[in-house]
């Protein structure tokens, strides 16, 4: 089930909210647990068992790690727990990728396995890993109530598209969380904003991207339209999901970490990754990069550490080489910035550093979106007119005109301009009066788009 669906918005959510606020406090976690399993079952009826198994693994190994704390067995149980969790992830997500590469490099003929990727497995596996590692490192207490641990891992607002909520960040909230009108309203606001980002910007641009991908009438203008639209689509889709997750969390009393902070206003790639998918980059920083020694080691090992982290970051996004290339591309850019470029970037006029980031990020998403290497090369070459293509074509002009306002809206809303206006003290009364009307109208308009059966993809099926 996806948030931007009628089933979720007008059946699942009202029922769950209704029951959640009717039952006494002690039953609220149970309601969320059952709701989360129903939510996951609706999208992945069989793999709900896999998630249950993963939860049991996390629960048992968490208990064992804690019980044998300060002994060598604690580490053994940690390694076992991590191995099983990652083993499941590798089997369900990477097995066919590995077989494909083995067959290619070793001329083997290993048969592919018939297994579908369980939605959200990368997110909940990383949550489980952070839980086990934090218990081992005494950064959080072990959870002895399996229902509460299950509720944390399966919690539906963040289950299928993040943010990757760490157990230690919401441990206290599982038992003690506040439900106030203010928090609920804040949640509604975030949810509707996220829904609008997804339905009104990302999905609309997604239609144009699909048209481009099926077109044979290419031009330089069309490639740029594709590049810019892809950038905006991925940002609004992903940050929209995160906003919806954070908003839903607040409706149920939780405070999840922020996942995006206007990444397209970054002035360097380093800055960009402080603002993009924060929960994932901080996860890799804390559980991989620092564990490998971070930057407190020799220069060669430091560079190795960066490349390992970005290789894994790329691979996390999907079992295909374009994701690996995408990750390493950022790894190399970050190394270049860290080694010498950042000091020059700081001195450059803002406009130049913004353009530098936007161009490199656009190229990255063309790599990210590519079906194969040929398509990636073709889409990149198209930006500079390689391949005997015209500057413009009737189709590209038509779609530029047709999507111009949406793209401009996307560019404006990707910056904090609107937020700054709303949060400024000037005309506060007027904005306060306008905000509820605007939000509720947006909810109706998003509903209209969903009812119309407009393009509504789930981009994270490969995560």
């Amino acid at each position: 089930m996806v948030f931007s669906s009628i089933t979720f918005l007008f059946y699942f959510l009202p029922i769950v909210l209704g029951i959640y606020y009717i039952v006494p406090t002690k039953l609220k976690n149970l309601v969320l647990l059952v709701a989360s399993f129903v939510f996951y079952f609706f999208g992945e009826p069989v793999y709900v068992l896999l998630m249950a198994f993963s939860i049991i693994v996390a629960y048992i190994f968490g208990i064992l790690i804690d019980k044998f704390k300060d002994t060598k067995y604690s580490k053994i149980f940690l390694i076992l727990g991590i191995t099983i969790s990652i083993g499941l992830l590798v089997y369900f997500k990477y097995a066919n990728f590995i077989i494909e590469n083995l067959n290619f490099w070793l001329n083997n003929k290993i048969d592919f396995i018939y297994v579908a990727l369980p939605i959200g497995i990368s997110f909940y596996t990383f949550q489980m890993l952070s839980y086990l590692i934090d218990v081992y490192k005494n950064k959080t207490k072990v959870q002895k109530n399996i229902l509460k641990l299950a509720m944390y891992i399966s919690l539906f607002p963040q289950l299928i598209a993040g943010p990757i909520v760490r157990y230690r960040d919401i441990n206290d909230q599982i038992d003690n969380r506040k439900h106030t009108m203010e928090k609920f309203a804040l949640g509604v606001r975030r949810f509707i904003i996220g829904l609008s980002k997804k339905v009104l910007i990302a999905n609309v641009l997604g239609e144009m991207i699909n048209t481009f991908l099926s077109s044979s009438e290419m031009s330089v203008l069309y490639y740029w339209l594709y590049g810019i639209s892809t950038m905006l689509q991925i940002y609004f889709d992903f940050s929209g999901y995160s906003d919806m997750a954070i908003g839903l969390g607040k409706m149920f009393g939780f405070d999840f970490m922020e996942n995006f902070n206007y990444p397209y206003i970054a002035k360097s790639i380093t800055d960009f990754w402080r603002r993009w998918h924060i929960s994932l980059s901080s996860w890799f920083r804390d559980y991989v990069y620092i564990q490998l020694g971070g930057n407190r080691t020799s220069k060669v090992k430091w560079l190795r550490n960066i490349l390992i982290v970005w290789f894994l970051t790329g691979l996390w996004h999907g079992a295909a080489w374009n994701f690996v290339i995408w990750g390493l591309y950022f790894g190399i850019l970050l190394i270049i910035e860290k080694v010498f470029l950042s000091k020059y970037l700081e001195k450059l006029p803002s406009i130049i550093s913004h353009l530098y980031v936007l161009l490199l990020v656009m190229i990255s998403f063309i790599i990210f979106n590519g079906e194969n290497v040929n398509q990636i090369i073709e889409n990149l070459c198209g930006l500079i007119g390689i391949g005997n293509i015209p500057i413009v074509s009737p189709e590209s002009i038509y779609y530029l005109k047709s999507y111009f306002v949406v793209i401009i809206c996307g560019i404006i809303f990707a910056t904090p301009i609107l937020k700054n206006i709303i949060t400024s003290n000037n005309k506060k009364k007027f904005i306060n009066a306008l905000e509820p009307i605007a939000l509720l109208c947006l909810l109706i308009i998003c509903t209209a788009y969903i009812v119309d059966g407009s393009f509504n993809p789930f981009l994270y099926f490969r995560f």
């Binding site: 007008f10 059946y11 909210l17 069989v46 509720l440 308009i445 509903t447």
Partner: protein, 364 residues
């Protein structure tokens, strides 16, 4: 408004919208068809263990709740207006409104599909037709063709060039100059029968038929007509009016529908009253095989008209030249079994297709 009151309004408003629509959807009775969209609506699926385990049931439920959503047409209208007035998009789901007329984008020219459609025509010629027969083909431009240049539209001449390569021995009849935007309905893809005299004239000239320009047809206005595009667009615009042309020849002619085994008049008024598509008044609408017999005709010639829905309205106007017209719609009957129903003798043969059909390769 202070913060507290604002939060209250947001919370109550959100909860109200969620619960009102939830309850309204529960109460609302399911509908079988959408009249405006002219399609069957998804119904609640049959729940079986196998379908639940495979996720099929959930997919079907997702479709069902969207199709049966309360005030569905109004929500679709909101989307259409937002897309047009706020986002200034040039089309909504491939449809757009210009000067009170609705258009659907069919773009780009799909050369492979055009070649495949042409090959099917070629196969029919080789299998069933002989060299003594007069064989023609013609393309009915989609109405977008007559729009100004910054709209995406199929180039009819480019399409014809592709067809000509596959069908070098069949004569092409160009009717593009005999039509204009005014000859099409505003809310539908089809042409208006009352405006087809110029097209008929071109066909008569090119097919060496007698000129029927002097024949007088009565125009009978049947009333308002909301075409297929009207419901798909989801916007409120004025309807068209639908007319039929009558003459003694048409009035005295009968049709035989091979699918229903019924004899009907050329204009099926019963269909007009009951069908959601009023265009079905012409030869009873979509059907694989139908013949029209001209009982007044002194002419012994017959015509085989390979056609789509556009053919239904022009065929009656060709009756003055033929004793019998056999209309074959290859979207509903396979070309491989035609000889079971049609005697291929010495008829004139006209392949008359709208560019949308040729571009989609949907002939069997």
């Amino acid at each position: 408004m202070n913060e507290k009151r604002k939060n209250k309004v947001i919370t109550i408003g959100f909860i109200a919208i969620l619960f009102i629509l939830f309850i309204a959807n529960i109460i609302k009775k399911d509908e079988a068809v959408s009249i405006s969209e002219r399609r069957k609506l998804a119904q609640f699926p049959t729940v079986t263990l196998e379908n639940v385990a495979s996720g099929k049931t959930m997919e079907e439920i997702d479709k069902y709740v969207v199709d049966q959503f309360v005030l569905r047409d109004s929500f679709r209208s909101i989307k259409a207006y937002w897309s047009d007035y706020i986002f200034r998009q040039k089309d909504n789901n491939g449809l757009f409104l210009k000067d009170g007329c609705i258009y659907k984008i069919e773009y780009p020219l799909n050369k492979k599909n055009v070649q495949k459609t042409s090959s099917k025509i070629k196969n029919i010629c080789e299998k069933y037709l002989n060299d003594d027969m007069n064989i023609y083909y013609s393309l009915i431009p989609d109405k977008n063709y007559y729009l100004e240049s910054d709209y995406l539209k199929i180039d009819v001449y480019e399409m014809q060039k592709v067809m000509q390569e596959v069908l070098p021995n069949i004569k092409y009849i160009d009717i593009t100059d005999a039509l204009s935007l005014q000859d099409y309905y505003k809310t539908d893809l089809h042409w208006k029968q009352e405006n087809l005299r110029k097209v008929v004239k071109v066909l008569e000239d090119k097919m060496n038929l007698k000129n029927t320009s002097n024949i007088h047809y009565e125009i009978q206005n049947l009333g308002s007509f909301y075409g297929a595009y009207y419901g798909q667009l989801g916007r409120k615009i004025f309807p068209d009016t639908i007319n039929i042309l009558t003459s003694n020849t048409i009035n005295n002619s009968n049709t035989y529908n091979y699918q229903t085994s019924n004899n009907e008049k050329v204009y099926n008024m019963q269909k007009f009253k009951t069908s959601s598509d009023k265009y079905d008044v012409y030869l009873s609408g979509a059907t694989p095989l139908i013949t029209i017999e001209n009982k007044d005709g002194s002419n012994e010639k017959e015509l085989l008209l390979f056609r789509d829905s556009f053919g239904s309205s022009i065929a009656p106007l060709l009756l003055e030249n033929y004793k019998k017209i056999t209309l074959i719609d290859l979207r509903y009957i396979s070309s491989s079994i035609l000889d079971k129903y049609v005697d291929f003798e010495n008829q004139d043969v006209l392949f008359l297709y709208n560019t949308l059909i040729v571009n989609q390769n949907i002939l069997k």
